[in-house]
Symmetry: C2
Subunit: 417 residues, 2 copies
């Protein structure tokens, strides 16, 4: 069969959608762990979080000024000020039980408790204090003005964060404002990365003609980190069936994901398909996408195995489409594809070389007046890393499309950051 | 003067642009350090990188197939194949000195050296091998087809990365492909963060009425990390002039940046303006932006001091506009504001409360057919953290604008990730 494949290429290609369905239906969630809330940046929360308190916990002032009864300020103006009497002061953090009646006011700081009876705050800039604690009010306020009502932001027992949310600074602030010291998150999936190829030389070694430096493991390892995984093993492997088999069997028991690059197509030294076939369950080999056609996805028990093409751009795209989303799916992330999207106009006609394939087009973006123009990055092959470093994002041209027409609106997925 | 300020508010506000100019002209770059290339994810490179080699380093095959002379394939078709003779084989990584003449072909793998004399590669799927090493060619190739020429991606001595670039997986791949083992990056700016306020209670402590949990230091500390800085100190401080002075003077010598939240406005317990005035050089106090008006920016020698408002959203916006960009400027980043931008349509009229201020509007985004709709997040005050956790991005309404009109195209800056 392998010989046949080598000659005819992939007899049958799986669509990207079907490959993703197959992959996700074989992707298991990793275990949870507890973490201190302030240290949870970029982690995926594993439980819904319910509010334990009203926020604010009490009616509080949103301004520095005077708490009073709004009606006492009605029709106040710079030329015709209203007068109230200052009867006390409430500082931030002070559990005051002061109260006020008509004609009275209490000096209050932003964030302090509104006194009983008070229903609005006049800001300090709109007042002047006279002798005998008489306050002149130069501008009226409506009831509720400059008061943050108890529970107006969050009601007790409301769900404030859904499981699967990736925690950013603002989510950590929200959890902190609730006094929640620890939360349950998903562990980082453990990932092993191997680049196969007799032509690969490690950084720092001398390079002879016919050889290239290994750039795939540093690239994939850093994409794994960007997507939230943890690298537990990283190496280059010669194109030798027994070496590859050994590395794979060693890595599987301790890894949630094993990623190979290179050796997955139909070349004479592409041993990976054989090795994976003999030692794991192949989910798909050959996906209708360009670049990335030779991608192989398999699993052995709960460990996923990805064999990505050796050309860097194809490996990159294959990671973004399959391995990266699998890492996020393992962590229970709501968004398995974390890339941000925008709408742009393509600058010129882009024909595709062959329909039936999903084509990935690298583009850079320019803001021009009130629209964003996407320009295709000039490139020849999928080995050209500068086509990535010069890009802002990637457009997917679906298998039903003959290409793109100049001026067409297209969805751009920004490169992951 | 302080008393006057407390009464009248800010007599004079600085525009956001002027405040940023003042800040940047007082921002010094931090020192450099060397790092192993594969470990440089998200770091800012401190030097231009010149290519040390041609990439590819030799003419190489972009396909598995036969290297040959293109002319020998002209007019080949499935019904009328052309014939060549296989005279050898070149594997990946093999430093072959084989050469070919008209009528000859060499079996070659993707990535292997093109033999002398060969100018194209026919892919294996378009061929069939007969007895006596005769190869049938079913499809023609043009000269250069499936050949990656030496130097076509990168010429030796070309600048491949500019200083100030933030290194992502693809940049690390590019450096690795050049065999560059170490690079010079900027150190992480050292940042101290303090939240001031008598009302603040630490996570895990019991909360009484009038108190709130401190959410500002966890939020700002994680924003600092997101922007590339390193937290060296983090605490809450009571509203007490001598405590605040002590914390500030302790922090300055070991910090590149000191950030306070709270106590920076004109309230009776807002001691920060006094403390900073007495111990450092104030660059600006009071910025024409909402939220965020009471922002104070100062420096003491090379240490920058930011006093952000205590309400979380104002602190967040103040960080995004000033403290965050200062961290990136210290690292020599090309982009001091790392947020991604897109163009959307605002869903409805948004009036602004007062012209002359830059207004920050939090929005969430929806993709609707071929455009993105920005919807304003409903909110009351700037203390409401859920207005951030429910947002995708922020719109800036300039001080000259009266507001936004429904359907207007607007630039949205996505929240930092």
């Amino acid at each position: 069969m392998v010989e046949r494949l080598r000659k005819i290429g992939f007899a049958k290609l799986t669509s990207v959608e079907d490959a993703l369905d197959l992959l996700f239906s074989n992707t298991k969630t990793v275990n949870t762990e507890e973490i201190d809330t302030p240290k949870a940046l970029n982690r995926i929360i594993a439980e819904d979080i319910e509010s334990e308190i009203d926020v604010p916990g009490f009616d509080k002032s949103a301004m520095d000024g005077y708490a009073l009864i709004a009606e006492d300020t009605f029709e106040a103006s710079p030329n015709n000020p209203k007068f109230v009497k200052k009867v006390g002061k409430i500082e931030i953090g002070e559990a005051s039980d002061l109260s006020i009646k008509r004609g009275e006011a209490i000096r209050i700081s932003t964030g302090a408790v509104i006194p009983n009876g008070g229903d609005a705050v006049v800001k300090i800039e709109d007042t002047e204090i006279e002798e005998n604690n008489i306050i002149k009010i130069y501008n009226p306020v409506a009831p509720g003005k400059n008061v943050a009502k108890q529970g107006e932001d969050i009601h007790k027992e409301e769900i404030i964060l859904k499981k699967g949310t990736e925690l950013k600074a603002e989510h950590i602030a929200l959890l902190s404002s609730q006094g929640i010291p620890k939360i349950l998150i998903r562990k980082r999936p453990r990932v092993s990365v191997f680049a196969t190829g007799d032509e690969l030389v490690e950084i720092g070694e001398p390079l002879s003609k016919s050889q290239i430096y290994n750039s795939n493991t540093p690239m994939i390892a850093n994409l794994v980190r960007t997507y939230g995984g943890e690298i537990i093993s990283e190496a280059t492997v010669k194109d030798d069936k027994s070496f590859i088999t050994e590395k794979m069997l060693q890595a599987i028991p301790s890894s949630d994901i094993v990623i190979f690059t290179g050796g997955t197509s139909v070349g004479t030294q592409d041993y990976l398909p054989e090795v994976v076939n003999e030692n794991a369950n192949v989910l798909t080999h050959g996906v209708a996408m360009r670049p990335g056609e030779p991608i192989l996805i398999a699993h052995k028990n709960e460990t996923l195995i990805f064999c990505l093409p050796g050309t860097p751009v194809a490996a990159y795209v294959g990671f973004l489409k399959f391995a990266g989303p699998a890492i996020r799916k393992m962590m229970g992330a709501k968004e398995t594809d974390p890339r941000k999207e925008l709408i742009a106009e393509i600058d010129k006609d882009i024909p595709v070389s062959r329909m039936g394939y999903l084509h990935y087009l690298r583009v850079y973006l320019e803001i021009k007046e009130d629209k964003i123009i996407a320009r295709s990055v000039r490139l020849k092959g999928s080995g050209i890393i500068t086509s990535l470093t010069n890009s802002d994002g990637i457009i997917e041209i679906s298998k039903e499309q003959e290409g793109l027409k100049a001026g067409e609106k297209i969805l751009v997925k920004l490169l992951p950051i």
